[in-house]
């Protein structure tokens, strides 16, 4: 068959597909012509392989190729229900995933808490180490917030400054989470660095306040938001290590394939990290500066921590796969 005859024969179908695709391009929903699309699409696929095999030339092949790509895109459109996915993710998939990845979880806990306690305990020996680790500016801020004469209540006198700090915590802490994750692609080294660094940093701040300022004010301040914040960091660390391990130990797969597969899994941990860190920022921005009895603040922090622990331990059923 001549190319011209082939084009003439196919033209009607191609036009129809083109119109259906144009209509679909303009909407998120479904248009009447869409019901014919699968049938038409298979015809166009047949036309494409014929045209390619018979070498009908660039113009014809490219036109049909374009139709197939567009049709393929529409037929494979992601139509998953975001809210449903979210609910299932929070209540079932995520806690299961964390329990499944318990080794990474404890690895990250160790990477954070060992440096934390190490540097904190060393503050009893010599507090100058904190000074060199944190820098003068951070020490100043710690003195302002938790020092004898200063106090974090005085620093936050209106809604605006609360909001500013809230936005700052989000941008800063969630940004650190994301970088912790991204650092995983360097064979996990970037992730380890960020987690250990954070452990040192928090440990040094705690140690410095313990020695030179008022540790009670400090505890009151961090009681609310510390558990979601640290958990968020641990999760982003786990996500990053997933990436790194996929490169270091790809198993039976090629590194490329292994990385893509690990990223798909890791990103769920990252969602949880972003969620927890945002939650921490809300608490730190608006709850922690409130002038409330210390007892109330501690109970809030404790119940939040217990809630998070039981969520990780008990949510989701292990046997779901059998169903």
């Amino acid at each position: 068959m001549k190319p011209s005859a082939f084009a003439e024969r196919g033209e009607k179908t191609w036009k129809e597909v083109e119109e259906a695709l144009n209509e679909l391009d303009g909407t998120r929903g479904i248009v009447p012509s869409a019901s014919r699309l699968p049938t038409l699409f298979r015809q166009v696929c047949g036309d494409l392989s014929l045209a390619q095999y018979r070498m009908y030339g660039l113009v014809l092949c490219e036109r049909i190729n374009g139709l197939v790509i567009r049709g393929y895109g529409h037929l494979n459109r992601d139509r998953s229900d975001l809210m449903r996915a979210l609910r299932q993710g929070v209540l079932e998939d995520f806690p299961l995933l964390v329990r499944h990845e318990w080794r990474l979880f404890w690895l990250m806990m160790a990477c954070f808490w060992l440096p934390f306690w190490g540097i904190y305990l060393s503050s009893f020996h010599d507090v100058r180490w904190m000074t060199s680790l944190l820098g003068a500016e951070a020490l100043d801020q710690l003195q302002q917030g938790y020092g004898e004469e200063g106090g974090f209540h005085e620093m936050r006198d209106n809604f605006g400054s609360n909001f500013e700090m809230f936005a700052f915590y989000i941008a800063n802490n969630v940004g650190i989470d994301f970088r912790t994750f991204a650092g995983g692609i360097l064979g996990g080294v970037g992730t380890l660095f960020f987690v250990v660094y954070n452990g040192l940093h928090f440990g040094a701040a705690t140690g410095y306040v313990q020695q030179e300022a008022d540790i009670d004010k400090f505890m009151e301040w961090i009681s609310g938001h510390s558990s979601p914040e640290i958990l968020g960091m641990i999760f982003s660390g786990m996500a990053g290590m997933r990436l790194g391990l996929a490169l270091i130990r790809p198993g039976q797969r090629s590194r490329r394939h292994s990385l893509a597969k690990a990223a798909n899994r890791a990103v769920k941990l990252l969602y949880a990290a972003a969620f927890l860190t945002t939650m921490a920022a809300v608490i730190e921005g608006f709850w922690s500066p409130l002038r409330l009895p210390v007892f109330l603040k501690y109970s809030f922090g404790c119940s939040l921590t217990l809630g998070l622990i039981s969520w990780l331990l008990f949510a989701g059923k292990e046997e779901r796969r059998a169903a």
């Binding site: 660039l58 992601d78 941008a171 798909n264």
Partner: protein, 245 residues
Amino acid sequence: MAKKLDTLQRIEIAEGVEIQLHLAGPMPRGVAFAIDCLVKAAILIVGSIGCGLIGFICSVLFGWNLGSGLGTGLMIAIAFGLEFVYSIVFEASRWSATPGKRIVGLKVVRTSGAPISWHQSVVRTMLRVVDWLPFFGVTGIITGLCNDRFQRLGDLAADTLVIYAEPGKPKVVASGGDGIAPFRPGASLTREDQGAIVQYADRFREWPARRAEELAEHLRGLTRVEGQEGVSRIVGMAQWIRGEG
């Protein structure tokens, strides 16, 4: 053959046919990135003016003093949104492209050619931080040049490709032989050779005449003629292969 000659990515889809994606290299992607930077800068400027105005209006009309922190806070939120949310949302949207990519005519797809999911969009965007290192996206460019699909680290992890959005418009003006009669090649040709000849006929109008002749010269053994005549003969053979005439 296209695999050797072109930046085409052939993918076999479930229907059993091969589609050809036109991969975008570092250059168009760099341009798209630069445009995105301009767009973000514009949003940031408009946002800061807007924040200032809101604060001003609140204090003058209603006498509310929200404190300067509110404006600063909003600015931080906007900057954060631009760094991460911007590309995630745009690339996971129906466009499959940030405004910059859309202007340049690019699009992000799965390696299978299907539209990308939210997960993939998130992974790509997060890893941009690493791809940027140490400066100007050097890591991303080097990684892209080290594989055959121009995938930066983010693309590799997310399993995505950046392609030209409208592959249906080749730069060739027209197919057909301009009235050149089909000519039967004097020897039997492999499919690959046939393909090369057909592609030559499809494209020779893009090149200067001298270049077309120079290429035709390589087929001297087959065409047995020189110069412009050799070109027409190859086009004639393409006509014959296509079954035209």
